[in-house]
Symmetry: C2
């Protein structure tokens, strides 16, 4: 009974091809400009065929959102071997920021846009955002490790993780939406010139704050 399997394979192939085309358009032209019709043209199928493989556009958005998390995890995977948890926490923060700079469109899809989360809520209400949880769990464990090494004495682990995430996300989010750019000129204290270093400096200010807790 290999026919059914061959068909299933073919189906998976086409689904992957659609996503590949969507990704290509998304990376080069952004999410809004990535229309169903353009994806269809890219793979030389009719637009309605897309709907046989993806429920709607938010479904594709979520699939791309998952791709983005794959890239982020790839970056973080190298940090698993950093033994000192505080060093790891710092490196995670830098890695997160660098990811946002390197892949602003993916970052937007993963942490700024509503569409992927809307899809999750609408079509899989039972599942709890596995991609996000997986990364957040890594953060929780790192913070836990920091506590074991004498950092953040009285602080709640989850709150500390949440705070660390909020800091770097706040920075990345304001950077990507170009809110920073319009405020950065004010902060031209000779030192701060490049926008990226403003991100780094603010993040380092946060780290200095944390180090006080040793």
């Amino acid at each position: 009974m290999g026919i059914k399997e061959r068909k299933e394979r073919h189906r998976e192939d086409l689904k992957a091809k659609i996503l590949e085309a969507a990704k290509k358009l998304f990376v080069t032209e952004g999410y809004e400009a990535t229309s169903i019709r353009k994806i269809a043209a890219e793979i030389e199928f009719s637009p309605t065929t897309i709907y046989l493989y993806y429920k709607d556009k938010t479904d594709i958005a979520y699939a791309l959102h998952q791709e983005g998390f794959g890239l982020l995890r790839e970056r973080f995977s190298a940090l698993a071997y950093v033994d000192d948890p505080f060093e790891r926490l710092k490196a995670m923060g830098r890695g997160y920021i660098q990811f946002a700079i390197d892949h602003p469109d993916f970052y937007e899809l993963m942490f700024i846009m509503k569409e992927p989360m809307q899809y999750l809520q609408a079509h899989h209400p039972e599942e709890e955002w596995p991609e996000g949880e997986r990364v957040f769990d890594g953060l929780i464990q790192t913070v836990e490790g920091c506590k074991a090494h004498g950092y953040f004495g009285s602080m709640n682990t989850e709150e500390m993780a949440m705070l660390s995430w909020s800091v770097v996300h706040g920075l990345c989010s304001l950077h990507i939406t170009s809110h920073f750019k319009h405020i950065a000129e004010k902060c031209s204290d000779v030192v701060i010139v490049k926008q990226d270093t403003l991100l780094e400096n603010t993040f380092q200010a946060y780290l200095r704050l944390l180090e006080r807790f040793k």
Copy 2:
């Protein structure tokens, strides 16, 4: 020569009426659902008339963005009389968070969406986002006051302001885009139940961090 003035008044009136209609739709149905045609129907004009008063849709987005900043400043104005700068800083943070909870759609337009900033860049490249700068200046001055009272000893003022903004924006942004909701369940340490208190608790964790600097 009062005719020209009367016309100008009439023109301003209609421009205001358009914005009022846009605001009404925007608040009740969100930005995406606020179409030019709907705004036009609301004020009983043809859709193209809108373009005689606003360049394009991002122009309207920016006008609403300004309205939002008016609301935020209104909230902050009451804090000008809080003498202790650290108390003021804390209150500003809480006020900012509460604003995001009370007016999520405005918050989105002000700090998450790209459209208003795009309009600013495209049509007024010389101006430097006056709304944002005005609020940020208030923050800078408050941080400066904190330093004068012995807080944040060695820290750079701008970096400290940036960090404070990033923390609260990170929290609000993740809250509004409903990224928190899908992670919050994991943090159900008996204590943390409501999502809003998770925001408050994380913010307080940040404040505890800051207080160490006294």
